[in-house]
């Protein structure tokens, strides 16, 4: 079944707005939860319960002065937040969120693009996104921005190795790189979270390092680096970096649901609803970790990534491969 090109356009428009809406309200929910966890209210002035806060933020960011550092490289300075946000948004295209429907005789697929190498594509886009961070920090030509972007880059590439290896177990069990087939395989057998528990844990830890979330938010360690790679950014261009981070987080959680928790499959309720229901607890854990755990030291972070996660992930892959061959 193939869907018509105009349906793809409508679906793309709807999906990208849903992702942006999810990002906007994720910031609000995060601030609300963090407020409650720290015994304060969080934003509650703009609209009832602060529900209009993301819109107020957007207006504020757009109205801010568009500042250029005098010695920065202008074109790279402007392009890098665009690159970061573009790759983050694009990554969501391959995540399946439903089984496909027929509406008024027209077929609508349950994901934006069902490509056979979806998993590799996701990691490739994630790696490309690093360019946005490192070039942005370099182009602003400031000490703190450069240090921050170097740290971001080193951290992200270190944990990307473990992230890619932790998923190898899932690929071995599903025998496919297509996310649709991985979801179908889980529906036919069992959620991969159970046989791949170690893989899930490694995926989760290196994923939160990959998205620069606390306790791995070294790139933005305020006490040492002012604000990390976006020290010289303000207004909407700063907002685009934030957008990239939050959307990366949402995509990573969606990938976690897809790879380990059976994707959109579930009894009674429709697929997209199940998908969101599974997504919310994972996002909540990320917010919870941010309020609870203190930040690591940089040498601890690197040592943990290379000396603990990498051997564990390799071991997980080898044992999985052995069992897969043994069982079949």
């Amino acid at each position: 079944m193939r869907e018509a090109w105009w349906i793809s356009i409508i679906k793309g428009f709807v999906l990208i707005n849903v992702v942006l809406g999810a990002f906007a309200y994720m910031t609000l929910v995060e601030r609300k939860f963090m407020g409650r966890m720290q015994l304060r209210y969080g934003p509650n002035r703009a609209g009832p319960y602060g529900l209009l806060q993301p819109i107020a933020d957007l207006v504020k960011l757009i109205r801010k002065e568009s500042f250029f550092p005098a010695s920065g490289v202008d074109i790279l300075y402007i392009a890098s937040p665009v690159v970061a946000a573009f790759t983050a948004l694009l990554a969501f295209a391959v995540i399946p969120f439903g089984g496909g429907w027929t509406i008024f005789g027209h077929y609508v697929a349950g994901q934006m693009a069902d490509v056979p190498i979806a998993l590799i594509l996701l990691f490739a886009l994630g790696s490309l996104g690093i360019y946005g961070f490192i070039v942005g920090g370099w182009a602003s030509n400031s000490k703190y921005a450069l240090l921050g972007s170097m740290r971001t880059c080193a951290q992200m590439v270190s944990y990307e190795v473990s992230l890619a290896l932790s998923v190898l177990g899932v690929v071995l069990m599903a025998q496919s790189l297509s996310l649709t087939e991985i979801v179908a395989k889980q529906h036919a057998t069992i959620w991969f979270a159970i046989p791949q528990l170690l893989g899930l844990l490694i995926f989760f830890v290196s994923g939160s390092a990959e998205t620069n979330r606390a306790p791995f938010d070294l790139p933005e360690a305020e006490q040492e680096l002012v604000a990390g790679y976006h020290t010289e950014y303000s207004g909407m261009r700063w907002g685009l970096f934030q957008m990239a981070e939050y959307i990366n987080l949402i995509t990573l959680s969606a990938l976690c649901v897809t790879l380990f928790f059976g994707g959109w499959h579930g009894p009674f309720l429709p697929g997209p609803l199940w998908f969101v229901l599974k997504l919310i607890p994972i996002l909540f854990v990320f917010i919870w970790m941010r309020t609870t755990l203190p930040r690591l030291r940089y040498d601890q972070l690197m040592r943990f990534g290379w000396k603990v996660l990498l051997p564990l992930a390799t071991l997980n892959a080898v044992v999985t491969a052995f069992l897969v061959v043994l069982v079949d």
Binding site: L61, P69, P116, M150, C153, V161, W306, A321
Partner: protein, 120 residues
Amino acid sequence: MLDNWLPFLIYALFALAIPVSMVVMSFAFAQRPAKRTRTRGLPFESGVSQGPPKTQRFTVSFYLTAMLFIVFDIEIVFLYPLAVILNELAWFAFLELLFFIGILVVAYVYVWRKGALEWQ
């Protein structure tokens, strides 16, 4: 096969349009400063303004990490195709996998013993 990529391209256009339009809007609607002075454009320096760093240097450790990343990540990418067809080739593929990872482990032990995994 290529038809799968058409929706992806459509989505990519949307994904590109949004950040670009946001940057354009930040130019169109932003407030202008009353006066552009030279100090306004200086990079942030904790209150100590010595002008921008002319040649930016960074620690060699970052470079080392990048090299390690290239070594390990490229090899992991090679493992993906093997993982997909592991079932069809059964024990032969598994032995190949062990051999491949064995070479990787030798390199890993060497790097560890050399102290390249320690952050300095």
